[in-house]
């Protein structure tokens, strides 16, 4: 097994001691098959137990370990050492306040996720005893991709618009609203539009497309947002040009 000595430059911030973040460098003997998270765990276990970061599943599904790796938003558990040079810079996710070291404050994201009503608002309600709602594979495919978001927030760290306008509801939350809008069982689009189609909603997006480029699950939030814009535009024309046509 080949081993490489990696210089890991980690942004440290202890609010009780530091007035601003600073870099600290660790020299880590890494196996080539490792991911950056393994290197961080090596530091935590062997070099410096005070380093703080979030992680759990190590298989890119829990969404805990999003961070900036060489300036790019990545899951540390899916950033392979062999894809980097001998110097790797690790920072907390951009656009989020730094709580401590690589840990960010994510309450803003959680609030935005809740604000779009990301749950099924059934078109027709029926009791459990009546069995499942039918949904064909074609109807499932229509929204399936947007169910794959793991809430890792890499898209928020990549989106310059979110950095400039923190009120922007943002890629993952709007993509999730779109996921329910597209679900054949759902009838809640009107209820979601209030937030989704507001100024801070989809219209704040200028289609940089960065969110989709960094998404580790290929959810394509940028695509979802453009589709929401198209649908909202059609709504507007219907409402103003053809007021007699019911939505």
């Amino acid at each position: 097994m080949s081993e490489r000595q990696i210089e890991l430059e980690v942004l440290r911030y202890d609010p009780e001691k530091d007035s601003a973040p600073r870099f600290q460098t660790y020299s880590v003997p890494c196996l080539n098959e490792w991911v950056v998270l393994d290197a961080l765990n090596y530091v935590k276990e062997n070099l410096d137990t005070t380093l703080s970061y979030r992680w759990s599943c190590h298989m890119a599904v829990c969404g805990s370990c999003g961070m900036m790796i060489n300036g790019e938003p990545k899951l540390a558990c899916k950033a392979f050492i062999h894809e980097y040079s001998d110097k790797i810079r690790v920072e907390p996710l951009a656009h989020f306040p730094i709580e401590r070291d690589l840990v960010t404050v994510i309450e803003d994201f959680i609030g935005k996720l809740s604000s779009v009503k990301p749950y099924l608002i059934p078109k027709d309600d029926k009791p459990i005893s009546a069995g499942e709602f039918k949904q064909t594979p074609a109807e499932l495919i229509k929204f399936k991709q947007y169910t794959l978001c793991i809430n890792c927030m890499l898209c928020y760290a990549a989106c310059p618009q979110y950095g400039l306008v923190p009120e922007f509801v943002g890629p993952a939350a709007i993509a999730l609203a779109h996921r329910y809008n597209q679900d054949s069982r759902d009838g809640g689009r009107d209820a979601r539009q209030e937030v989704v189609a507001s100024n801070e909603g989809v219209w704040e997006c200028s289609f940089v497309g960065a969110c989709s480029e960094v998404c580790p699950k290929h959810v394509d939030p940028a695509g979802a947002l453009q589709q929401v814009k198209v649908a909202s535009t059609i709504d507007w024309y219907k409402e103003h040009l053809m007021p007699w046509v019911k939505k």
């Binding site: 097994m1 202890d14 609010p15 009780e16 001691k17 098959e33 276990e45 062997n46 137990t49 005070t50 380093l51 703080s52 979030r54 992680w55 759990s56 599943c57 190590h58 298989m59 890119a60 599904v61 829990c62 969404g63 805990s64 392979f80 709580e99 401590r100 070291d101 840990v103 404050v105 994510i106 959680i110 996720l113 809740s114 009503k117 990301p118 749950y119 099924l120 059934p122 459990i128 069995g131 499942e132 709602f133 039918k134 949904q135 064909t136 594979p137 109807e139 499932l140 929204f143 399936k144 169910t147 794959l148 978001c149 793991i150 809430n151 999730l176 329910y180 679900d183 069982r185 759902d186």
Partner: protein, 586 residues
């Protein structure tokens, strides 16, 4: 210390905790529900479950078949009244999840699709591709956002239960971001904080699965049940233990030794079935314990493949074809390519058994109630027990739902049963004690022991003594070692002296939980002198229904090893028999 007044507080916001919270919010919108978790809900380990959830829905299936598969799979250690309740509720819960939007995979006609799983006589596993747990967790989390009465406390680490007047009335928790202790006062507490697989070095379990919920109840006097039964999943990636779902075999993947032989036929699961045409309850669709044990035997015989990650066997899925693998097992393919650099479409994947699930847990009855009044438990941290000595794949996701809801119903009924008035001063004093304990740990001067050092020793001894096959001698050594580690834990160093997001302190607390749980596993295993399900003894190879058709109960002692007691298994209609996984013969 800030006191947070609630009606019912839930520790853990994974599948079971979220299901319980939603059930409570639906039953009584006026309830004050606190959902407390050391991680944000969507980080909970439910998200890593891949294969699916079992529930009878198809016309060719029956509740009796699900019952028999579960009880037989559990080597008759399951409580049959609980299994009966479970299988009855299972389809309702899975349909409920469908009504909440879970993207279950579908048949062409729009009905929910099911796939075969190990140890099942008939296809019964509802699935959402190979991300079933992920979709269940996110569906529950998103649905929970509908209910304003569910107040979440994300990233709060519960440290001690508050027990007064003989009943559980809340707990203390460390707010991780501030380092401050909070007192949660509640009329009933539900623990749904997951398993403890991290006591082993090679596990599918995420870093957060450190048995904190189990230890919380255990230290407060509730016994841990059947802890010696630890499930190895037969197919983990050899380098880091990432799970490859049983769905791989359900869809038709086969297991080969170094000679290309489907070796399972040599361990009572044959005769060989045609490649690509899996036969239920046969060969690769045998139960997890048998498959993991077969690996051990192949390893002894020298039939395994040597890789740089150790001995492996091969999981061959090539005959399934790219289209089917992409449609049914996209995550598996992605994981193999990403973490092993191998594509299952093109080559067989080396795999080996990996610690996956704790059948044991906090002792509860069929109502999800623990012996400590006011304390309820559900999910992997609990032991009802429906899983007996070996859990059937895809029963645990359903269990989260069925018993998460049951715990909510029981807790509500308990709360409404006319409780005495809480003695605030007594509770506050206990909370103060808990705060002092954590403060003492935090302030401790640097000692000889490191968290990582003790953790490595714990994992090593657990693998040595309490692995797939066990001996009295090995277990005695492991028991001694864990007892020693518990003593040395007292001198542990916390280097991090910052209050804010102190993961050093958290890891110390987690290690404490793990050591407590590990000791219950080791002592339970040492004292169970038989082989049953996932507990296999080389010195007691037979099942002993005469003396040990019983649950073990481990009672905590702060300094000594736990006291082990036994409790009869509830048998209603299925007498212990022979576990037969050679379906192809018939």
């Amino acid at each position: 210390m800030e006191i947070i007044q609630t009606d019912i507080a839930i520790v853990g916001a994974g599948g079971a905790g979220l299901r319980a919270a939603i059930a409570l919010a639906e039953m009584d919108p006026k309830l004050r529900i606190a959902l407390v978790s050391k991680v944000y809900p969507m980080r909970s380990h439910t998200c890593a479950a891949e294969g699916g959830a079992a529930g009878v829905i198809k016309s060719d299936d029956s509740l009796d078949l699900h019952f028999n598969d579960t009880v037989g799979g559990g080597d008759w250690l399951s409580d049959q009244d609980a299994v009966e309740y479970f299988i009855n509720e299972a389809p309702k819960e899975l349909i409920q999840l469908e009504h909440w939007g879970c993207p279950w995979s579908r048949e062409p006609n729009g009905s929910v699709a099911v796939r075969p799983f190990g140890g099942m006589k008939i296809k019964r596993t509802w699935f959402a591709a190979d991300k079933s747990g992920f979709h269940i967790l996110h569906t529950l989390f998103q649905t929970s956002l509908k209910y304003p009465s569910i107040q979440r406390f994300d990233e709060f680490f519960a440290t001690d239960l508050l027990v007064d007047d003989g009943r559980c009335q809340g707990f203390t928790a460390l707010e991780i971001r501030t380092g401050q202790m909070k007192q949660f006062q509640a009329k009933a507490v539900i623990i749904a904080a997951g398993g403890a697989g991290r006591m082993f070095p090679f596990t599918t379990n995420g870093a957060i699965k450190t048995g904190d919920g189990m230890a919380l109840a255990y230290r407060a006097g509730a016994p841990l049940k059947d802890m010696e039964f630890v499930q190895y999943h037969p197919t983990g990636l050899p380098n880091n233990g990432i799970l490859l779902t049983e769905g791989c075999r359900g869809e038709g993947g086969i297991l080969l030794n170094k000679d290309g032989r489907r070796y399972l036929q040599d361990y009572g699961m044959g005769p060989e079935t045609p490649v690509g045409q899996p036969v239920l309850k046969t060969m690769e669709l045998g139960p997890r314990d048998r498959l993991s044990q077969s690996f051990w035997h192949e390893q002894q015989k020298g039939n395994t493949v040597s890789t740089r990650w150790g001995d492996c066997v091969l999981l061959d899925m090539r005959h399934l074809g790219e289209k089917k693998i992409n449609e049914r097992l996209p995550l598996v393919r992605d994981l193999c390519i990403s973490y092993l650099g191998m594509d299952p479409v093109k080559e067989p994947i080396p795999i080996r058994p990996v610690v996956h699930y704790m059948m044991g847990g906090i002792h509860t009855d069929i109502n999800a109630a623990t012996p400590l009044p006011g304390l309820f438990a559900a999910g992997e941290c609990a032991c009802v027990s429906i899983n007996g000595a070996n859990r059937l794949g895809s029963n645990s996701l359903t269990e989260l739902l069925v018993f998460g809801r049951k715990a909510a119903m029981s807790a509500l009924a308990y709360m409404q049963s006319g409780l005495s008035t809480a003695k605030d001063a007594a509770l506050a004093a206990q909370a103060k004690d808990s705060e002092s304990r954590i403060q003492a740990l935090f302030d401790q001067p640097a000692g000889q022991e490191t968290i990582n050092g003790l953790r490595q020793e714990m994992m090593h001894t657990m693998e040595q003594g309490a692995g797939i096959y066990r001996t009295g001698e090995g277990l005695a050594a492991t028991c001694d070692k864990i007892a020693e580690l518990r003593q040395r834990y007292v001198g542990i160093s916390i280097n991090d002296k910052s209050r804010v997001y102190n993961t050093d302190l958290m890891q110390a607390l987690e290690l404490g939980s793990l050591l407590d749980c590990a000791e219950a596993v080791a002592v339970g295993a040492r004292d169970r002198k038989e082989s049953r399900g996932a507990h296999q003894r080389l010195d007691f190879t037979a099942r002993d229904d005469q003396n040990l058709l019983k649950h073990s109960l481990a009672y905590y002692h702060p300094k000594e090893p736990p006291r082990i007691d036994y409790l009869d298994v509830v048998i209603t209609k299925s007498q212990p028999g022979v576990r037969d996984y050679s379906g192809a013969k018939k």
